[in-house]
Symmetry: C2
């Protein structure tokens, strides 16, 4: 874990953090865009695990981006169950939609201790007006989020058992790889089986049994917050995973003209 950063720490103020680097990966940002974006997201704070970043129903006045650690979006239901609708890995913007939509329709909370950048809406909105390229990359990131959400609908609606869980694991691998976390199939992933269950719409018991099946197939292991994917290609094949929906930079989003 990196040390707590003072929000006024001068060295960190201009250095592009993971949030900025992820946006920059889309392309089209000038050095000035990147500098100003880094400046805008230099107020970075430490949050404990299981903390709420933005609650359902809120009308936040600032945006948040995960710099380090894991968070998720979830909806809670009257009967107490919850549905995780997305995981947030380092670099992800937590609540970009709140920039234009009045009320949060879901909660964003940490799953592990996190470093989170606080960016006032006013600052971000001003940036989008003075730096059109920044508006464009934020828009782009919303589109990728949308694509991921649609994939989840298909995963939960049509895939069963091992495929469903396997698909989620594949997605996490690729998203973590994309930000340079994880090496040789090992990922530090502070999720409980209950978290996984809430994400794929299974009960914890069934998630546990499904995890065992994948383990017995020699595809992965998952203990104590460490995910080890033994054979990613086979897991992808089993799960029907196709990375297209993640729109990875390498195989090319369109570049702004």
């Amino acid at each position: 874990m990196s040390p707590y950063r003072e929000k006024t720490e001068p060295a960190a103020a201009n250095a592009p953090n993971l949030f900025v680097r992820k946006l920059a990966s889309f392309g089209g940002l000038s050095a000035e865009d990147i500098r100003d974006l880094a400046l805008a997201s230099s107020d970075i704070r430490r949050l404990p695990a299981d903390d709420v970043i933005t609650a359902e129903g809120d009308t936040p006045t600032r945006a948040h981006a995960v710099i380090e650690g894991f968070a998720c979006r979830y909806k809670t239901f009257p009967d107490g169950t919850r549905q995780i609708v997305d995981f947030l890995v380092p670099g992800d913007l937590c609540d970009g939609h709140a920039l234009f939509l009045a009320a949060m329709d879901h909660t964003v909370g940490t799953l592990s201790p996190c470093l989170v950048a606080y960016v006032p809406h006013k600052v971000l909105l001003d940036l989008t007006e003075t730096h059109p390229a920044i508006a464009r990359v934020l828009w782009w990131s919303a589109l990728v989020q949308e694509s991921i959400a649609r994939e989840w609908i298909g995963n939960i609606g049509r895939r069963a058992g091992e495929q469903r869980l396997g698909h989620l694991v594949c997605e996490l691998c690729f998203r973590l790889d994309a930000v340079g976390l994880g090496h040789e199939g090992r990922y530090n992933l502070p999720l409980t089986q209950t978290d996984l269950a809430d994400a794929i719409g299974f009960s914890t018991v069934h998630t546990n049994r499904t995890l065992q099946k994948l383990r017995k197939r020699g595809l992965l292991s998952f203990e104590g917050g460490t995910l080890v994917v033994v054979d990613l290609p086979r897991l992808e094949a089993l799960s029907g995973f196709d990375r297209t929906y993640l729109h990875p930079r390498s195989d090319a989003a369109k570049r702004p003209s």
Copy 2:
């Protein structure tokens, strides 16, 4: 059904169609913005039912908006099943994400005969550069789409039986009402039970039986392409429906400053 419109029909060229009116409802568009947007989307063509507007894997060079009729987004699976991930009602943009994302990660197809506006990407991109307010409303519409997708994840992942189907019906009611379609709980909805099943992740048989239960409760009827919602408040209560996620204009998105 309205008559076929020639793409060069002068009277229609500048009149804001439903697509433009929906975007304008977000606010912030000047008369000039609206005029130019209407002009850009004046190439309107008729498509038959069950036609593909944009196929998975495509890299389209134009955007499409439904002006009249119904369409849907769906993903197909190796075993032949499909998952509908969103319905498109008049006014909806079919493939706004393709403006920045290279490949379509799902197919968009018509469910009924449709009038569809064809807007070349180049035209739309130019508009976003010369008319910042247009960029903003398109971004906004992507955020609403994202919110709807998340709600579907929760619906499919955590709600069962009548709640799940009822929730979808409620959403369709509100979205149709928002564009002025449907009166006193009657909606012209050219969906088959198979379509509904593919949307909520049920089999057609189970969808049929669930529909019967809702009918026996006196909440709705659905025959021959006409949905009649007898008691929307009770259906909402049963389904745990909360319209917040649709971010209706009336209870206030934030207006651009």
